[in-house]
């Protein structure tokens, strides 16, 4: 027997953080001070009422100052994790700690067509194909709409996106809508698929990504959505956005303090509506804009690691981002930015990592980029995994048995373990002649080809005709009432 191993830290894996715990504490205090001193403007009367009754001070109708004690109380009831399920009710995403799950973005205004490389307006078929590509790729864990279809009525495009995602994928869905009523309709559509409101509450198949005007300005629609999801016991993703130098101080700490004040205000509201409802906070943000061109780029280095470090400090599930680019085309810049942003989001442990496939800072997108991201994530999973060191993996007996001239290639130990090492999918590692013989393809060409292959071969299980029908009815009912 080998004796007893004490204090074994079995796995040590890569990590990246910008903040020490003491700094997180300071930033937390700063946000509490902003909430107590400056307060927020809150445009949903029901939420103003709730906060007032719970002890906040309200002036000028909608200016709400929230005492620190109310925030600390909310931290006492909010769960430190959230769960999302797939269409079959399997609890596939355990959103907690440093676990990473990945998915696309929503509503890109243009698409770079993988067949032609042409930039054009998206149609519903692009949304359906996006959902199918996401469904097929093993490292894509949730779906979002990806594109804004221009061949459906613009007043209710969200419902068509939702129908497409329900039909063409089985993975958990993150909804984004431009108004409150569409969210209600989308949730009802999801309920129809999983078998009713109670089933959805037990096994949340959807959540909603809610954008909030700024840290200190909470628009009505955003707060309505937050309260509605809490009433439904569904997790909410609540993301106030401040741009440093525009809607908050330009310094990272200042941008963060203002943004995070809004995150904490949302936390209090969610817990006042329903104690214990999961609340997902930003794992990215505190960006600025280019002070010469005024462009709001996505791929910026300064803000990396700040929001995520804070979310870990709070031990709350977070919505991160990665796999996007500011490039206009699927080119070297797009590959570089998607890869690096995924690498950092992963090392931050930014739970739900969205926006894969985005180009032009969200004004455009690409299916082919998803294929690239899928491969990068695979690589990252290997690059960040913990290493197990034990008798089996050290294999000292094997070394001794083989001796100094040993050849391990045909050993049972090799056969048993070689698959644990990474193997490329679309990245080329062949010798020149082999590469030439295979058609001298570029990475971009291989990405497009893979998308075509998926679309030709992959079809997720269909919904039953009755459920499809019901989903369609809800869509039509809301579409008509919107008119």
């Amino acid at each position: 027997m080998a004796g007893i191993q004490v204090n074994d830290r079995t796995f040590a894996s890569s990590q990246y953080t910008r903040l020490a715990p003491e700094q997180c504490q300071k930033l937390h205090w700063a946000s509490l001070e902003v909430l107590e001193r400056t307060g927020i403007r809150l445009f949903e009367p029901a939420a103003v009422d709730l906060l007032k009754k719970a002890g906040a001070s309200v002036s000028e109708e909608n200016r709400v100052r929230i005492p620190a004690g109310m925030v600390e109380k909310a931290f006492g009831t909010v769960p430190k994790r959230a769960v999302l399920c797939n269409r079959f009710g399997e609890r596939v995403l355990q959103i907690e700690g440093h676990k990473c799950f990945y998915g696309p973005g929503s509503d890109a205004l243009n698409i770079v067509d993988h067949r032609t490389q042409e930039r054009r307006l998206p149609v519903l078929r692009d949304v359906e194909e996006g959902a199918r590509v996401c469904d097929a790729l093993p490292n894509v864990h949730f779906v979002m709409s990806m594109f804004l279809p221009t061949d459906v009525p613009s007043a209710d495009y969200e419902l068509h996106q939702m129908e497409a995602m329900l039909n063409h994928s089985t993975k958990p869905i993150i909804i984004v809508t431009s108004n409150f009523e569409s969210l209600v309709a989308c949730v009802e559509m999801a309920e129809a698929v999983v078998g009713g409101a109670e089933a959805l509450r037990q096994n949340p198949y959807v959540t909603c990504y809610i954008n909030v005007t700024t840290g200190l300005m909470h628009n009505q629609e955003a707060v309505q959505k937050l309260m509605y999801l809490a009433q439904k016991s569904l997790p909410a993703i609540y993301i106030p956005v401040c741009y440093g130098g525009l809607s908050a101080p330009v310094t990272l700490a200042g941008t963060f303090a203002a943004t995070n004040a809004g995150v904490l205000a949302g936390l209090v509201i969610s817990q006042l509506v329903r104690e214990g409802v999961p609340y997902i906070i930003p794992g990215w943000g505190a960006r600025t804009i280019n002070m010469r061109t005024m462009a709001a780029a996505y791929f910026t280095p300064d803000d990396k690691g700040v929001m995520a470090a804070m979310a870990h400090y709070y031990n709350l599930p977070m919505f991160g981002y990665g796999g996007f680019s500011d490039s206009k085309v699927v080119d070297q810049q797009a590959a570089l930015e998607a890869s690096l942003s995924l690498a950092f989001a992963t090392m931050e442990g930014a739970n739900l990592i969205h926006d894969m496939g985005y180009l032009e800072a969200g004004r455009s997108g690409s299916h082919a980029q998803l294929v690239l991201c899928n491969e990068v994530i695979d690589w990252l999973a290997h690059a960040t995994a913990g290493i197990s060191i034990n008798d089996e993996t050290l294999a000292l007996d094997l070394i001794d048995r083989k001796g100094p001239n040993g050849n391990f290639l045909d050993d049972a130990h090799t056969v048993k373990h070689f698959r644990e090492r990474w193997m490329p999918g679309i990245l080329d590692q062949s010798v020149y002649d082999e590469w030439a013989a295979m058609g001298s393809q570029t990475l971009g060409e291989r990405m497009s080809e893979r998308v075509e292959k998926i679309l030709a071969e992959h079809q997720p299980p269909a919904l039953s005709d009755a459920i499809k029908q019901r989903v369609r009815e809800i869509l039509e009912q809301y579409a008509n009432s919107a008119k």
Binding site: L246, M291, M294, R363
Partner: protein, 212 residues
């Protein structure tokens, strides 16, 4: 530019020092320095230099904006002492983000850059209904109406506003410019706007070309 006060005003504008611009302009008025030369050699010359530094990359937008603010402060002080013809405002602009839309970063930037270029701005904020735009155009008689929309769902409210202007008989009295991520030149033509610009720099050029 021999007068030392004018030189100080010129430098204070370059540095965006509002307080120093104000005290120096007051001082100049009290001591009877030629106001037209304060305007031309102090203020306008300083803004030209700011523009030059911006173009060659020495200055960034915030520096340009504080310089423009400082210049405006000085201008306010000497305005009552000058004849109308001696100061030309570039034009008056009513701006806002259309109904249902809360995106204001782009709109605010466009306003600030237009202000920097000498336009007088009336910013109505976000979620601005067509009636509100029309009312303001009637009351304020601006040269330009600048509308912003970032959502495909709110873009139609630009068309609605232009229709409302036509109905109110005001369409001929104001040029309409539009912008925002989902918009295009083609859309501007389609709804009968006078122009579209893809960023704040182009918005200034567009505004100047329409009003100048």
């Amino acid at each position: 530019m021999t007068n030392p006060t004018i030189q100080i005003i010129y430098n204070a504008i370059l540095e965006g020092d509002r307080e120093r611009v104000q005290t120096q302009v007051k001082h100049a008025i009290e001591t009877g320095i030629d106001l037209v030369s304060i305007l031309n050699d102090g203020m306008i010359a300083a803004m030209a230099e700011v523009g030059r530094r911006f173009s060659c990359g020495d200055y960034y937008v915030p520096e340009m904006l504080i310089a423009a603010r400082a210049m405006q402060d000085g201008l306010k002080l000497i305005k009552p002492h000058l004849m109308q013809t001696e100061i030309k405002s570039s034009g008056k602009v009513v701006a806002g983000t259309v109904k249902g839309d809360l995106h204001d970063i782009g709109k605010t930037l466009v306003c600030m850059m237009l202000e920097g270029a000498g336009f007088e701005i009336l910013d109505l904020g976000t979620d601005v209904a067509p009636e509100k735009f029309v009312e303001t155009v009637r009351a304020e008689k601006p040269h330009l109406l600048a509308m912003s929309a970032l959502l495909t769902t709110t873009m139609p409210n630009m068309q609605a506003t232009i229709n409302a202007l036509v109905k109110a008989g005001l369409r001929d009295q104001v040029k309409v410019i539009i912008g925002g991520a989902p918009l295009t030149d083609k859309y501007a033509q389609q709804i009968g706007a006078d122009g579209f610009a893809a960023d704040a720099g182009r918005a200034v050029a567009l505004a100047k070309s329409l009003v100048g």
